[in-house]
Symmetry: C2
Subunit: 364 residues, 2 copies
């Protein structure tokens, strides 16, 4: 048989996430409400839709290997230089490349216990050693992350702000202060996938050339283009340039580049989506309250709902909702796993949630 390399041979066969289509096939029918993957059912900008549809016949061409037009537009949008930006196949893809660039086998990476599993998948996948600190008050704990980074000599420190799966957030000033307290040579991986949904005060003011941090952004969430696989990282030009050493140079879909550019230019649509997401957050909180549960504050397009019980109860609830056609997810570790996580969505899907949840609760 094929001889796998030692790291690959040591990896488990488990995968970070089971997708909703997989669950639908297992159940033998589609979900009526798709509220589990923090997708944005309000959809992409109509201008992005039109641009992508118009781009389809030209898909015989490879995409631009530099994502030049999109990178320039992003630089203008953020008021930084193109050399501070690398576009890639979603934050998932970029996190993998970043870990590959920085983590040698045995290197320590610090994150929070219950934070983004796909990041952990990449760290393990390159032989890194994960060191996890607990959440504090349902939020990632900057001081604990810093303390552990100093204790371990961590290469990377991962923090999502706002956080997934809890929807909590820190003030941007807290993130800025973290940078001065990082150990020398450690890099803060600031996952800002949900930044557009957060209050402006949650976004730190960090120079794009700051070598202590790399920020991750995406078109999968606020821009409603998860299936298009476009994300980008902002960082020091030397670190950004290093991605060229390892990335799949023609890997970003041609149609997606064009769609992302159009989405970026449609600020009116984004503003509408953000308003709808905010309304959906409030509606989900109301549905939770009607069922005796408490929504946690959210700066994202999902709401963590505290069941007031434990992880076993939340798991029963998730499974029972799935059996009734409602797809949600839940945090993976205690004490976060007393919660369920419900993605914002248009009213027809939340109507289904509102109808099904009381029935399910009455059976548990």
């Amino acid at each position: 048989m094929v001889r796998l390399a030692p790291i690959a041979a040591s990896l488990p066969a488990t995968v970070p996430f089971v997708g909703p289509e997989t669950l639908e096939r297992q159940a033998g029918r589609p979900f009526a409400a798709r509220l589990g993957a923090n997708e944005n059912g309000f959809g992409p900008s109509p201008r992005a839709v039109a641009a992508m549809q118009a781009a389809v016949p030209d898909v015989w061409k490879y995409g631009d290997s530099l994502s030049f037009d999109l990178t320039r537009a992003l630089a203008a949008h953020h008021g930084i230089r193109p050399g501070n930006i690398i576009v890639g196949e979603g934050i998932d893809g970029l996190l993998g490349l970043l870990v590959r660039l920085t983590v040698a086998p045995g290197d320590v990476v610090v994150t929070s216990d219950g934070a983004y599993p796909t990041f952990n998948f990449h760290v393990a996948g390159f032989g890194g050693v994960l060191d996890k600190v607990p959440y504090r008050n349902d939020a990632e704990d900057p001081q604990a992350l810093l303390d552990r980074a100093h204790q371990t000599g961590a290469k990377l420190v991962y923090l999502a702000n706002p956080d997934n799966p809890m929807g909590s957030w820190h003030d941007g000033a807290v993130i800025e202060a973290m940078l001065d307290l990082l150990p020398d040579g450690a890099l803060l991986v600031l996952d800002e996938a949900y930044a557009e949904f957060a209050p402006a005060s949650a976004i730190p003011d960090i120079a794009a050339d700051d070598p202590r941090v790399i920020r991750m952004r995406t078109f999968s969430k606020a821009h409603g283009m998860a299936g298009a696989r476009v994300g980008y990282a902002i960082g020091h030009p030397d670190l950004i340039a290093a991605f060229d050493r390892v990335r799949n140079h023609f890997g970003v879909n041609r149609i997606s580049q064009i769609g992302a550019l159009a989405a970026l230019q449609d600020g009116d649509w984004l503003a509408q989506v953000l308003a709808r997401v905010d309304a959906a957050r409030q509606r989900i909180a109301g549905i939770a309250a009607e069922n005796g549960m408490a929504a946690l504050p959210s700066a994202t397009n999902f709401v963590a709902v505290d069941t007031g019980r434990d992880g076993a109860f939340a798991r029963h609830l998730v499974d029972a909702l799935a059996a009734q056609g409602v797809f949600i997810r839940m945090p993976g570790v205690a004490p976060l796993n007393r919660c369920i996580r419900i993605s914002c969505a248009p009213d027809p899907e939340l109507d289904i949630l509102a109808q099904v949840l009381p029935q399910v609760m009455s059976t548990l």
Copy 2:
């Protein structure tokens, strides 16, 4: 500054290919004829175009992490089981994953000097040691590859059949015979990106469960969907399953999965494309002959044209054509680099080639 991991720190900043859009930006104007990247200007199936356009509004959903429908259809198409197939972000992406799975730092990988640079990029990128054998009669040399694999204890042996950049091919029986002569534990990486353009006799009859080989196929070439980033590998189920340990599970674009499925189901369109490609090969050979050059036989959607001179002449020719708006490429090493490589394309683009080439030749 950020401490790169040792392998990443050792890698050069060079990239495998400069894309046509980059060249266009350098020149300040678009190419009139895009004949350099072995794209398929006859385009995707109209059914695939329609399916992708219809899929655009739903791009807010992540793609199916298992590419389930496409994988099942591919299995039926090839008469094998879904467990023999992994769908990924083009052959480029799958080659990277394969190298990561199998090549530890210092492991030897055997390929041909002048064969696919992106494969070499991945091998170097994971710390593998490339050992190259020369082409023989403008074709990859199976016996030399086998001999070197035995001498070095190679983990991987790369062979493209048909070959890129020369367009040459071996009979399928030659590939089949190679398997019996591989060293124990070596894996043949059989890149069949151009298989659909080749005579049926060039396709080896290999059991999908054979653990000695992994075959790579793509929707980028015959199916005209290079910008969509969909390829697949066929191999032993244990090796195919190992991709799950390292791949970006939600990395395959949702629209692309749907488009590839539609393309696969449109055999009539594929047959038309293959006929047009064959006509274009003949026309390119005629244009070459009119200009005192000899087209090599091709089993691909491009034609290597022997200039009868050396690499410096071919480079001048490529550059002079680019200056006149005609994008082609050329092999990177001697003696292959006495040739230029011209991709098949619809007549309007070949008209431009036919018009510009004599002008350029007269100036050299």
